[in-house]
């Protein structure tokens, strides 16, 4: 019944590898977000989207692409992964005018060797 799901939950890849992180929400929310969480940095916004086909650049976008294929699905792509992208990644969703109240997925732990 979880409203925001992420897959995979854990991923290990090598430097230069290609990784896709998936997020699906069943909240019927327009807005979706990708964050990374690192010790000492809190959460930092990578990319976000206002709806299917829309993409907005966040605060730390370098090395990441994203694509919103439907209202429910938002993907984060790392085409040439680097060790600096080892992190815990969270997806979230919110309603358009209530974006201070975001609903988070359980996270994906990515390790780049």
């Amino acid at each position: 019944e979880a409203a925001v799901t992420q897959s995979p939950r854990n991923k290990v890849t090598v430097t230069g590898g290609n990784v896709t992180l998936s997020c699906r929400q069943t909240n019927s929310h327009n807005y979706m977000y990708w964050y990374r969480q690192d010790t000492g940095h809190g959460l930092r916004l990578i990319h976000y989207s206002y709806g299917a086909g829309n993409l907005q650049i966040g605060d730390v976008p370098d090395g990441y692409k994203a694509t919103r294929t439907t209202q429910e699905d938002f993907f984060l792509l790392l085409e040439l992964a680097s060790p600096s992208q080892t992190s815990l990644y969270f997806c979230a969703s919110s309603r358009q005018f209530l974006s201070y109240e975001q609903y988070f997925g359980p996270g994906t732990r990515l390790t780049v060797l």
Partner: protein
């Protein structure tokens, strides 16, 4: 540029104690302030928010927060903590809910000892 500062990286209290987790922000315009909780191994969960009106806002599980414009603060409080309140707490600021962008503080780890 808006910033959020949580001055205490770690707070440890005993069950039944009261606790205050501090949050200060810097932004000149109208803002939305919110608190989130993150239990170990889970994503963040929304606790409460403030935009205008009564500066004391109530959240779930007995949490409340008080806004102070003069101090640029939005501190989170609980009168009597339970061991299950052990978690990381994040303060967040948004100046425009239409953009969807939140700026998070670095978080405070609350440990509640039995």
């Amino acid at each position: 540029t808006q910033t959020v500062s949580q001055s205490d990286a770690h707070v440890t209290v005993f069950e039944g104690d009261s606790v205050e987790l501090r949050c200060n922000y810097s932004y000149g315009g109208s803002i939305y302030l919110s608190w989130y909780i993150q239990h170990h191994g889970h994503g963040l969960q929304f606790l409460l928010k403030y935009y205008s009106g009564n500066p004391v806002v109530q959240g779930v599980n007995g949490f409340e927060a008080e806004f102070s414009k003069s101090d640029s603060s939005f501190h989170l409080r609980k009168a009597s903590v339970h061991w299950s309140d052990s978690a990381v707490y994040f303060c967040a600021v948004s100046h425009n809910t239409n953009t969807g962008k939140l700026t998070f503080g670095d978080g405070t780890v609350l440990t509640v000892k039995p």
